[in-house]
């Protein structure tokens, strides 16, 4: 029994890190543009399909395929920002409507191009690690490592670089940041592109673990928003923490309770946290 629980704890951390990477995009975009970009799930799906196409159809090696997908999704993110998101800055409702509309458009385009047939990548890193009676699929461990590195890398970039500090200052006081010479429009575009590229990376790595279809993004973006709220919107490390808490509560909950209500276990946890800390686990109490 203890092996079952420890195994699922670790699996929860791995699954949670995927929620965390999308949650990071959600929290960054909200902090700097004032919109909750629900289309990040669709960007994740695009990243997954781009990786599948480059890797399985065109025969690229996996790592360059993921990089290619991240760049492609980043470019799409930039075009969407210029064409749409820049007109919704600071307007939660308009941003929400645009992002929901984009989900339909992206899903329909991918459906038309690749149909609903699930795509399952040629296995990148097959097999499992056997550690003390526990069996952990190698690909999940590797993907989790990449996600953790990216999230901590983003945290250090935000706290140690000029651009990162500019982003923080803008999130705290936009007017003061603009008066201090920060080019706010460009900063917001950079954050939107970075968030979409992160989602593309999430999709690229997701595709190495799970089969993909045009609707995979919608479920994950909801989890990501949940993780971001659980952590407290605006917290970078919190996004990871929120994702992991969600992943672990779903996995452990499914072991002891019916797995048919897996999503509910995370939500119950979220409600309990918000009752005690309305601004989230890592959010500002003030």
């Amino acid at each position: 029994m203890s092996q079952l629980i420890i195994g699922q704890l670790l699996n929860g951390v791995i699954v949670g890190s995927l929620y965390g990477i999308i949650a990071l995009g959600v929290t960054l975009t909200f902090g700097l543009t004032g919109i909750v970009n629900f289309a990040l799930g669709a960007f994740m799906m695009l990243g997954a399909y781009a990786t599948w196409y480059l890797y399985d159809v065109l025969g690229w090696p996996y790592v360059p395929a993921v990089f290619g997908a991240v760049i492609a999704v980043g470019i799409i993110g930039y075009l969407c920002d210029r064409a749409l998101f820049q007109f919704t800055r600071g307007n939660l409702v308009n941003g929400l409507l645009v992002s929901i509309g984009m989900i339909s458009v992206f899903e329909a385009l991918v459906l038309a191009a690749f149909t609903t047939t699930p795509r399952d990548l040629t296995y990148v890193l097959p097999g499992a690690l056997h550690v003390g009676g526990l069996i952990l699929p190698k690909i999940k461990v590797a993907v989790c490592g990449v996600f953790l590195a990216v999230i901590f890398g983003t945290y250090f970039a935000l706290t140690r670089t000029w651009l990162g500090r500019a982003a923080f200052s803008y999130a705290q006081n936009p007017e003061a940041a603009a008066l201090m010479g920060i080019r706010t429009g460009r900063l917001q575009t950079i954050v939107v592109v970075y968030s979409t590229a992160l989602a593309g990376l999430g999709g690229g790595l997701y595709a190495s673990m799970y089969s993909i279809d045009p609707t995979i993004g919608s479920g994950y973006v909801l989890k990501a928003v949940e993780a971001a709220i659980l952590a407290g919107i605006g917290s970078v490390i919190g996004a990871l923490g929120g994702g992991i808490i969600l992943g672990v509560s779903e996995n452990i909950g499914s072991v002891f309770l019916p797995s048919a209500f897996r999503d509910a276990y995370g939500l119950v946890f979220l409600i309990a946290i918000l009752l005690v800390r309305p601004s989230g686990l890592f959010g500002d109490r003030s």
């Binding site: 699996n11 699929p137 799970y210 279809d213 479920g219 499914s254």
Partner: protein, 392 residues
């Protein structure tokens, strides 16, 4: 301004146009299709929609079909329910308002349940060819003369479920773990197979999962503690690839039994599985080599859609799809009418159709057709056992 002669002329012209429209309308038989073409449950509807369109194009390309001394063409309207009951009722009402007399679909149980009351109100005015499992219990009930079910029933003497469970019993199976989606069909399937396994003396443990789940590690680990001989996962490839990979990679299970879905996941993990026993309406990879009709269908599909043939999904063409459009046309010709749905229903119930599948309906309107049981073993060797209940 127009004078009285001008008005008269305009009136004649309008009447002439109206007359022409009537002639055109009489030459066209409207058929509708109501399926999820987008959304997470679109796999079934998408393939059905492709097959129906292909049949319509084939028939129209030959100049249509003759009933009596008139030649008709088919006009197909495909409505996308997105797998959502509310959307389905809107789309279905629209088809009824447009006087569509022949509707193919739905495959999904939740969609059939949603449109069933509206269909009942229109009983006698149209025919519905639904693949949904829940349509089974509505067959033969009063005010359900409109209904045909285009999939063979899991249980019962001609059903594939009992034959499948018997096949499993021959593998010396004592315990099975069933892992299905928590939705209308999942629950129906649990009810059907709980009884079938009980009758066969096989112990069954059931777990349901949330729609959209991709990581099954926790529930697989839980089921593995009961040490089942076979894992019985369902029910579409969107989850089967993940379940089979995760189960084999983490050592939770390597023997699988399924009654919906393709053998694609088995072939992908052929070195990790021990057994993978699947009900497949037709094993197209083999049938293409031995059945000329299947070969022609595949070639036509590739030419029409300009894409690779989806061998995994093609067995879904057995439901409310390609053969059923051709069969309907044959029934209209045999009944000598394109309007009298009661006569066409009688013709359908009394005929058998030999297309991609050999199809007939039982007296309640439920379909009986031949199918394959495909047994994939470690290494990828495939054994196909054919069943043809239409001969019974």
């Amino acid at each position: 301004m127009l004078g009285s002669k001008g008005l008269l002329l305009s009136g004649f012209m309008a009447l002439g146009l109206l007359g022409a429209t009537n002639v055109r309308a009489e030459d066209v038989v409207k058929i509708g299709q109501i399926e999820a073409l987008t959304g997470p449950t679109a796999t079934y509807g998408w393939m059905s929609a492709q097959g129906a369109k292909l049949a319509v194009e084939e028939i129209n390309a030959k100049g249509g079909f003759k009933v009596g001394d008139k030649t008709y063409k088919l006009q197909l309207t495909q409505a996308d329910t997105r797998g959502e009951p509310r959307e389905a009722t809107v789309q279905f009402r629209k088809l009824m308002e447009e006087n569509v007399r022949f509707v193919f679909g739905p495959f999904l149980t939740n969609i059939f349940n949603a449109i069933e009351p509206i269909a009942k109100q229109n009983n006698g005015k149209f025919l519905l060819f639904a693949g949904a499992t829940s349509a089974h219990s509505a067959l033969g009930k009063p005010d359900h003369d409109y209904l045909f079910r285009t999939w063979n029933w899991d249980a019962g003497p001609s059903g594939f479920g009992k034959l499948m469970v018997d096949y499993l019993k021959k593998q010396d199976t004592k315990k099975v773990a069933m892992l299905f989606q928590n939705d209308a069909f999942g629950k129906t399937a649990v009810d059907i197979y709980t009884a079938l396994f009980k009758d066969a003396g096989i112990e069954l443990k059931v777990e349901l999962f949330e729609p959209g789940t991709k990581d099954f590690s926790a529930v697989l680990a839980k089921l593995a503690t009961g040490k089942p001989d076979f894992l019985f996962p369902g029910y579409s490839d969107a989850v089967l690839y993940d379940i089979v990979r995760q189960a084999t990679e983490s050592g939770f299970a390597n023997r699988f039994f399924l009654v919906r879905g393709s053998i694609g996941p088995a072939l992908k993990n052929k070195d990790a599985i021990e057994d993978y026993i699947a009900y497949v309406p037709k094993y197209f990879e083999q049938a293409e080599k031995t059945e000329p009709k299947v070969k022609a269908f595949i070639e036509n599909y590739k030419k029409t859609y300009n894409r690779e043939f989806p061998y995994d999904q093609a067995p879904l063409c057995s439901s409310s799809c390609y053969d059923h459009v051709h069969m309907l046309v044959q029934a209209m010709q045999s009944a000598g009418t394109v309007d009298d749905v009661a006569k066409i229903r009688t013709a359908l119930l009394s005929m058998s159709y030999d297309g991609l599948w050999k199809i007939k309906y039982d007296k309640t309107g439920e379909e009986v057709f031949g199918f394959d049981v495909v047994h994939v073993r470690k290494g990828g060797s495939v054994e196909v056992v054919k069943y043809d209940p239409t001969n019974d």
